[in-house]
């Protein structure tokens, strides 16, 4: 396995071009959380021609809805949710400048096409590792849709947040590579 790469947000076009499916990375910097309900609102906002509450250009969205923070905690457990539910919305956001997505699980062909076309990247974090991942979050604030509770959009500052490149900017998909290699056995 290749050694772990360190990435700092915002990701540059060059950073993204150099990442390959299967590589482990540690991400440091600002990322946003958004999941089902926030994505629905994002896309409705875009179709009304209005401005989004976050700046998408160069951003990374983490598909996650945390547990509430206990007193003294920055954030509660925060692992990734299944990305496929965001597939109907993701191509539109990528087109608007979104560069990175962190989640878990399969993506649609439309999302993979958008990733290739706009030089974006899809990472997986370890599903179910919510307690461990919360330790890598150094700051958290709600920046939009507070009424959605856990589904609100949060701006997180993460440090050495562990992830794996699943779909790179050439469209290589780690999950497909695994499936093909196991069926050829």
């Amino acid at each position: 396995m290749s050694k772990t790469k360190r990435l700092t947000t915002p990701l540059t076009e060059e950073d993204i071009r150099n990442l390959r499916a299967g590589e482990s990375v540690l991400i440091t910097g600002k990322i946003y959380t958004a999941r089902d309900a926030a994505h629905k609102r994002f896309v409705e906002t875009i179709s009304r021609g209005e401005e989004l509450p976050i700046k998408l250009e160069g951003a990374i969205i983490y598909y996650a809805g945390p547990c509430p923070a206990k007193p003294g905690q920055i954030i509660g457990s925060i692992g990734p949710t299944t990305s496929g539910r965001m597939d109907p919305y993701a191509p539109k956001l990528i087109q608007k400048g979104l560069k990175g997505m962190i989640g878990k699980g399969l993506r649609s062909d439309e999302v993979i096409e958008a990733i290739k076309k706009f030089n974006a990247i899809y990472f997986a974090a370890i599903g179910g590792a919510g307690a461990l991942l919360s330790n890598r979050v150094k700051d958290s604030k709600v920046v939009a849709y507070e009424d959605l509770g856990t589904e609100a959009v949060r701006e997180l500052v993460v440090e050495d947040f562990p992830a794996i490149v699943v779909i790179d900017s050439e469209g290589n998909d780690l999950y497909k590579m695994v499936r093909e290699s196991s069926t050829s056995n």
Partner: protein, 287 residues
């Protein structure tokens, strides 16, 4: 009427308290049976990525346990099973209200995520306290009540399937169906998974057995020899699929497969597969 003396009163307020404690505990403490299977899997994996993923999952379970934090942010929809002794008389209020109050209290006091929405296909407004609870009751002999809680995350729940087979179909068709469920789910249900499988009964009986099978420890095979052999055979075949931890490839696709069976109709053969994740959680107490 001599038996009337055996009737025991249980105050529903005690049920509420127990449910609240179980909800918090179940979410923060991954069972030692699962931990052992994860450790075994890590030993067997050859790729450093698969080993690394299992190490992080084990580390996560340790942090959750030591910091009393939910292992997974999806603290689930709370599924409560009650095995109620027929000689119990519940007093002090409505039993189901008490269970829902217990879940609400546990999820609020335990800083667990509230993941339940009121309208399933329209507004989807969060109920704010993780209720209503899914409650299954069973009447059993005796004057005790066993309360189990199994918080169920939906990353894996969404990958579950039910199929009504024809009686002409046999064990090979059932095996192929289960393997397909796991293949189709791929990385989505956070493998390594745990599968609960119900074979027989009616449509809802098969599903309920599949769910209940997830409450059984992974080191406790089905007591029926033939069913136990099917559990072992399926586990081996699932782990040969190569999906591996988190779908990144490897030998540890499932940690365990628990099967429950029940007689069925001359015309049918229902099979339900309830997919669960490496954070398969359940806690029980007897009052």
């Amino acid at each position: 009427m001599g038996d009337i003396a055996r009737v025991r009163e249980v105050n529903v307020d005690d049920v509420r308290k127990v449910v609240a404690e179980l909800a918090i505990h179940a979410n923060c403490f991954i069972g030692d049976d699962i931990i052992h299977k994860l450790e075994e899997g890590r030993e067997e994996e050859e790729s450093s990525l698969a080993k690394n993923v299992l190490t992080q999952i084990l580390e996560n379970a340790r942090i959750a346990r030591e910091c009393n934090m939910p292992a997974c942010q999806d603290t689930g929809m709370a599924v409560v099973f009650l095995e109620i002794g027929q000689d119990i008389h519940f007093v002090g209020g409505d039993l189901y209200d008490a269970i829902n109050e217990g879940v609400s209290e546990g999820y609020i006091k335990g800083y667990l995520r509230k993941s339940v929405v009121k309208e399933p296909y329209t507004d989807r407004i969060n109920t704010g306290n993780n209720t209503p609870t899914i409650i299954h009751t069973e009447i059993v002999p005796g004057n005790k009540v066993k309360i189990s809680i199994a918080p169920k995350g939906f990353g894996s729940e969404n990958m579950s399937q039910l199929k009504m087979f024809k009686p002409a179909d046999g064990v090979d068709e059932i095996i192929e169906f289960v393997l397909n469920v796991v293949r189709e789910a791929g990385p989505n249900p956070c493998p390594p998974v745990v599968l609960g499988i119900g074979i027989g009964g009616t449509m809802e009986k098969a599903s309920l057995m599949a769910k209940k099978a997830l409450l059984r420890r992974l080191d406790e095979p089905n007591p029926d020899e033939e069913v136990r052999r099917l559990e072992e055979r399926l586990l081996k075949l699932v782990n040969e699929l190569g999906i591996g931890p988190q779908g990144f490839g490897g030998k540890t696709t499932a940690l365990g497969i628990n099967i429950e069976v029940f007689p069925t109709h001359i015309a049918g053969l229902p099979v339900a597969v309830n997919v669960s994740c490496h954070a398969t959680r359940h806690e029980s107490t007897v009052i």
